[in-house]
């Protein structure tokens, strides 16, 4: 798993059936990546529903959140509409799990992303990463602590 201080690998993935997002397009913004195993599963649903409620906290720190799983763009579209999510879900679908592999958070056995969080600064250097037990929703406290730490003036 990529650790603090690593430049975040760039990627381009579908976020809707006809639109892609490239990480480097979000230059100048902090980015939170939330890799998760599967749309519709109970823990992932709770986790995405929670981030849906905490978007205003992330925005306060000039941070965008992107959810990533190996589900297809059509599956994401249905899941996102059903849960009324207000942030993009990216399809790490073809080649399957390539982005998760680049970040070191692909579960080869299950063929799914692990449940992992990354917080990167405006230059897209990873500043915090966390691998959660797959069955446990990590919440948003670690993300907010990382964003708050980044907002502190740098000590010389």
């Amino acid at each position: 798993m990529l650790e603090k201080g690593t430049a975040a690998p760039d990627f381009e993935l579908f976020c809707t059936p006809d639109q892609k997002i490239r990480l480097s397009e979000l230059a100048g913004k902090k980015v939170i990546l939330a890799f998760y195993p599967a749309d519709w599963s109970p823990v992932c649903s709770d986790q995405m529903a929670l981030y849906n409620e905490t978007l205003k906290y992330f925005r306060k720190y000039n941070a965008d959140i992107l959810g990533i799983s190996v589900d297809s763009k059509w599956c994401h579209m249905a899941f996102s509409a059903d849960r009324k999510l207000h942030f993009p879900l990216l399809a790490d679908f073809e080649p399957k799990g390539a982005v998760a592999r680049a970040y070191g958070v692909y579960d080869e056995k299950e063929g799914e992303c692990l449940r992992a969080l990354f917080v990167m600064d405006e230059q897209h250097t990873i500043q915090w990463s966390y691998l959660s037990p797959t069955g446990i929703n990590p919440g948003a406290d670690g993300i907010l602590d990382a964003l708050e730490a980044l907002a502190q003036p740098v000590k010389s």
């Binding site: 529903a49 849906n52 409620e53 959660s132 990590p138 919440g139 406290d141 670690g142 907010l144």
Partner: protein, 177 residues
């Protein structure tokens, strides 16, 4: 990652039980969440079984995107507190959870024999919605990851909260105390 309760349990919380009890259970809950509705009688039963060993506090964590009436219900309970009826309103909201989308809050107030005009008036007070926001904020910073989320003596409880599991866990902690 250790998820710990921020701020800690205090007399500013809505508390049931002896403030000096060794076991401290905090629920972050949403009045419109069906899981919290299921947890409600479980907590009651555990409180009855542990008696003076347990104190219980409820903090608001309305998932407004999923549950359109949850925030207003939380404000209603806080408004009822101004008529010393936080817990009766909390209980009533959970017991009649299915009526939330249909029943106006003044009807809840009348059922509890509260001053419904005062309740409606207090529900407009921005300090009460700020209180609900502050609870939500504390929940997010404490690692609440859905509703209900429980904290036991300051630490997030991630295991099952069916009655047998939760009671066994609390009894085990009491034995170690």
């Amino acid at each position: 990652m250790a998820h710990s309760l921020r701020p800690p349990f205090s007399d500013k919380d809505h508390v049931q039980g002896d403030i000096h009890a060794p076991l401290e259970l905090v629920e972050y809950g949403d009045y419109q969440c069906p899981h919290c509705g299921r947890a409600y009688p479980i907590i009651k039963s555990i409180q009855a079984k542990l008696g003076k060993e347990l104190k219980f506090a409820f903090r608001n964590f309305p998932l407004s995107e999923s549950h359109p009436q949850a925030f207003a219900a939380a404000v209603a309970a806080e408004a009822a507190d101004r008529q010393s009826a936080f817990w009766p309103m909390h209980d009533y909201l959970f017991e009649y959870q299915s009526r939330l989308p249909l029943m106006p809050f003044d009807a809840f107030a009348e059922a509890l024999k509260l001053d419904s005009q005062k309740l409606e008036h207090d529900m407009q007070d921005p300090t009460l919605s700020a209180k609900v926001d502050a609870d939500f904020d504390s929940g997010i910073h404490s690692g609440v990851n859905g509703t209900p989320t429980f904290f036991i003596n300051g630490r997030r409880y991630d295991d099952n909260w069916d009655e047998d599991s939760l009671l066994a866990h609390l009894q085990q902690m009491l034995a170690k105390h």
